[in-house]
Subunit: 411 residues, 2 copies
C-alpha cells in the first residue's frame, strides 16, 4: 500500500535548505511505495493548520530542481514553533496524528536545527508510543554548524564560503589606503564560532587575513583587544578583525549587551546594535584611528549567488538518503554526514538517534584556537577547506538570480 | 622618441577599477611610442612621494590580466588627497612636473571620481600653461554613478548587480516567516540614488520587491514612511524597504545625522551611516512588529565574486580608449561611455572635457521617481538592465577568490 511523504522546513534560513527538499522529492519520485509528496507551509505549525501543498507535480524538469536547489531560504516557509512536551499538550500531538492520518502520511521529514530535531524526536516518540507506523526522520540544516552527530551541517559550507570570500574582498578594500585603520567584521554565531572560523580561509588563497579572530568560545577582554590592535599597528597600516556576534566577557555577559544597556543616543534611545559596533566605538575613542565595522548580516545565510558545490551536493544527498532510511523502517533518527576522508574529500550519509542531537549545541573545538585566544590554529584548514570547495553557476534572468516559487494552493 | 605612461588610482574602491588599469596596460603594450608603464602607489600622493612601480613586466599572461580585472579595490592603492589650487601651492605642481620629467612621463592617466577629475583637470591646465606636452586623461570610476559626461561609470554596473542580487536574496529570507515584519536595507549613496535604484531590479526576475524605495533626491518624511509601512502590512506580511544612506529631511539634514557626530572626511564630506538603523528603531517604537536593518556596506563596492560582465568589459575598454586618446594628442579630457543603443545594448567610448566633469555630481533623474516619492517608475529598467548583464567566473583557489598582487618595489 502506498503511503505519502510530508516534508517541512523550520528554523533560520540557509542557502542550501532547498537542496535537501529537492533531494527528498527526487528520491521520493523513485519509489512506487510512495504516493503523494506533500510540503507543509511554515513548518510543523503549518502542518497543524492543515496548510499542505502538493510537490510532486510542481517539479517535473531537471531545470526546476536545479533552480530550487539554488533558491535561498525555505521555499516552503519556516516557523519558530517548538512542539510542547506531550504531557503538557497531548491534544497537539493528537491533532498532528489526525492530520497525518487524513493525508495518509507514512513518512515525515523535518529539516532544521537542534530545536527542529527536538520536535522531530517528540513526534517520533509519540508515534512509536501509539504503535503508529509513521516514520520520522530529521534532516540537519543550519549555517551555525552546531549540531551534534554530523560532521558538519548542510548550509554551513555555503555560509562559510560567503564569509571567506567577503573577508578576502574586504581585506583588499581595507588595503587601498595608506593610513592606519581598523576594520571589524561581525560574523553570525551566538554561541559557537564555526562561522567566524571561516574568516581565516583567505589564508589559503594568499591573503594573510584577518589579523585577529575573536570567538564566543574564549572570554573577550576589551583591553587585550586594544593592545592587540596597537601592537599590530606598529607593523602594518590595516588591521582586519573577525569577531563573532556572540563574544562574551569573562562574567558571561554578551559584549553586545553592554551596548544595549549602557549607551543611549541624543534622543535618549538605547543604542541597539552588535559586538562589532561596540568595538568600533572603543577603537575610535581609545586609538583615534580610522575605524569601521561591517556586519555581514543575513547575506551569510541567504547568498545563493555564492554556493559551495560541496554543500549543495551534500544537502541534496542528505535528502535522498533520508527517504531511503525511512523506507528501510528507520524512525527517530537524523540523517548525518560522516566524513570518510579528506584527500580527496569523501563522505557518507549515516544516521544518528535524534535523542543524541535534539536541543544540544556543538561548540567549536578549543584546541583549534591559539593559546592567546585571538587566532586559530592551522588545524582548522583540513576540516574547513573541503566544505567550501566548488562553485555553482546559479540560474539568472536579466542578470539577476532566478528563484523557484511553489504554487502554494493548499490541498 | 618614446615616452612613458604613468597611471594612478584614486578615491573609493570599486570592483571594476583594476579592469581599467588592465585596459591601459594592455593598450600601452601595443604601441612602440610608449616606453615604460609606471603605476603610482596611492594615487597622486604616491606620485608626489616618488613611489612609482613598473607594471609592464608584471603582466605577461592573459591569466594575469584576467586575475587583475577581477581583483577588487585599487591594486595600486588609493588616496583621498585633493590637489590644492595652483595659486595656493605652486610648489606642489612644480614638484609633480619635476617627477614626471625625471621618469619621462608623457601620458598621465588618473582613474577616479569627480574629485580625482578635479585633480586631473588642474594638472592638465598646469602642463598646458607650461607648454609641456604631458597629456592628462581622466578615467571614470565610481560605484556612485554620479559623474557628468558619461552615460554611466565603470564600477556602477557591478555594484548595481550586487545590490540587485542581495535584494532578491534578502527578499526570500524575509518571506520565510509567516509574520509581520519590516526589513530595511541601507544602500550606499550620499547624494544620488543611483545605487538605491538598483534595488528594484529583482522585479525583472519575478520578485515584486522592494515595496518601498527612498532616495536622497526626495525629502524624507518620517510619518509618511510609517504610514507607508502600515498600509502595506494590511495586505502582506513582509515589507522590504530600500533606503539610501543619504536620505534627508525637508530641511536638508541627513536622516542619519541624528545618529552621528559631525565627522567629516578630508574633502569635508560628512561621514554617513545609520539611516537604516534610525528607521529600524522608529518602526520598533511605533509599529511594534519584527524589524531589522541590513547595511549592505562595503561589499557593494568590492564584491568581485559577483561582477557584471558588461561593467568589466566597459571598464577595460575605457582604459584602452584612454591610451588611444592620449596618443592622438588629447589632454584635459575624460574618457566617457556613450550609450549607442539599448536593444541589443551597444556603447562607444568618447571624450568629454574634464572641466565639464570635475567636482560636479550628477543626480538621479527626478522623473524616474514616482509622484509619491517612495518608488521608481519603470523608466529605470531600460537604463539599468544592460549595465548588470552577464556573469564572470572570477578565478578561485581552494574555493576562495584569487587576487592579483603587484610587486610594489619602487623603481
Amino acid at each position: 500500500m502506498q503511503k505519502n511523504i510530508l516534508i517541512a522546513q523550520s528554523g533560520g534560513p540557509t542557502a542550501a535548505i532547498n537542496a535537501t527538499l529537492s533531494g527528498v522529492i527526487r528520491e521520493g519520485l523513485r519509489h512506487e511505495v510512495i504516493g503523494n509528496i506533500y510540503g507543509a507551509l511554515n513548518g510543523i505549525q503549518g502542518a497543524l493548520e492543515r496548510r499542505l501543498i502538493e510537490l510532486k507535480s510542481q517539479l517535473t524538469t531537471e531545470k526546476q530542481f536545479k533552480m530550487l536547489e539554488s533558491t535561498p531560504a525555505m521555499a516552503l516557509g519556516s516557523c519558530r514553533y517548538k512542539l510542547p512536551a506531550y504531557d503538557k499538550s497531548p491534544a497537539v500531538y493528537e491533532e498532528i496524528r489526525n492530520i497525518f492520518h487524513k493525508y495518509g502520511i507514512g513518512y515525515f521529514f523535518y529539516v532544521g536545527g537542534n530545536d527542529s530535531m527536538d520536535t522531530a524526536l517528540k513526534l517520533s516518540d509519540y508515534f512509536t508510543a501509539c504503535n503508529d507506523d509513521i516514520r520520522v526522520i530529521g534532516l540537519p540544516k543550519t549555517i551555525d554548524n552546531d549540531l551534534y552527530g554530523t560532521d558538519h551541517t548542510p548550509g554551513y559550507g555555503s555560509a562559510a564560503k560567503f564569509i571567506a570570500t567577503a573577508m578576502a574582498e574586504i581585506a583588499r578594500d581595507c588595503d587601498a589606503y595608506n593610513l592606519n585603520s581598523v576594520t571589524i567584521v561581525e560574523i553570525m554565531g551566538r554561541n559557537a564560532g564555526w562561522l567566524t572560523a571561516a574568516s581565516v580561509l583567505p589564508r589559503k588563497a594568499g591573503a594573510a587575513v584577518p589579523q585577529l579572530v575573536y570567538m564566543p568560545e574564549v572570554p573577550f577582554d576589551l583591553s587585550a583587544f586594544l593592545n592587540d590592535v596597537k601592537r599590530l599597528h606598529a607593523e602594518r597600516h590595516t588591521v582586519l578583525v573577525a569577531v563573532s556576534e556572540g563574544i562574551r566577557f569573562a562574567d558571561g555577559r554578551y559584549v553586545s549587551e553592554s551596548e544595549q544597556s549602557d549607551v543611549t543616543d541624543s534622543f535618549g534611545h538605547r543604542y541597539l546594535s552588535g559586538a562589532g559596533k561596540l568595538l568600533e566605538r572603543l577603537v575610535a575613542e581609545n586609538l583615534g584611528c580610522k575605524v569601521r565595522s561591517v556586519e555581514l548580516n543575513i547575506l551569510q545565510r541567504c547568498s545563493s549567488h555564492l554556493l559551495s558545490a560541496t554543500d549543495i551536493n551534500e544537502a541534496r544527498c542528505v535528502g535522498q538518503a533520508a527517504v531511503q532510511f525511512a523506507l528501510e523502517g528507520r524512525t527517530g533518527v537524523m540523517a548525518a554526514i560522516k566524513r570518510a576522508k579528506n584527500e580527496p574529500y569523501a563522505f557518507d550519509i549515516g544516521t544518528v538517534p535524534l535523542k543524541e542531537v535534539a536541543g544540544l549545541e556543538r561548540r567549536f573545538p578549543l584546541e583549534w584556537i591559539t593559546p592567546s585566544g585571538n587566532d586559530l590554529t592551522d588545524d582548522v584548514f583540513p576540516y574547513l577547506l573541503p566544505l567550501i570547495a566548488g562553485e555553482i553557476q546559479s540560474p539568472t534572468v536579466n542578470g539577476i538570480p532566478e528563484f523557484f516559487n511553489f504554487n502554494k494552493a493548499v490541498v
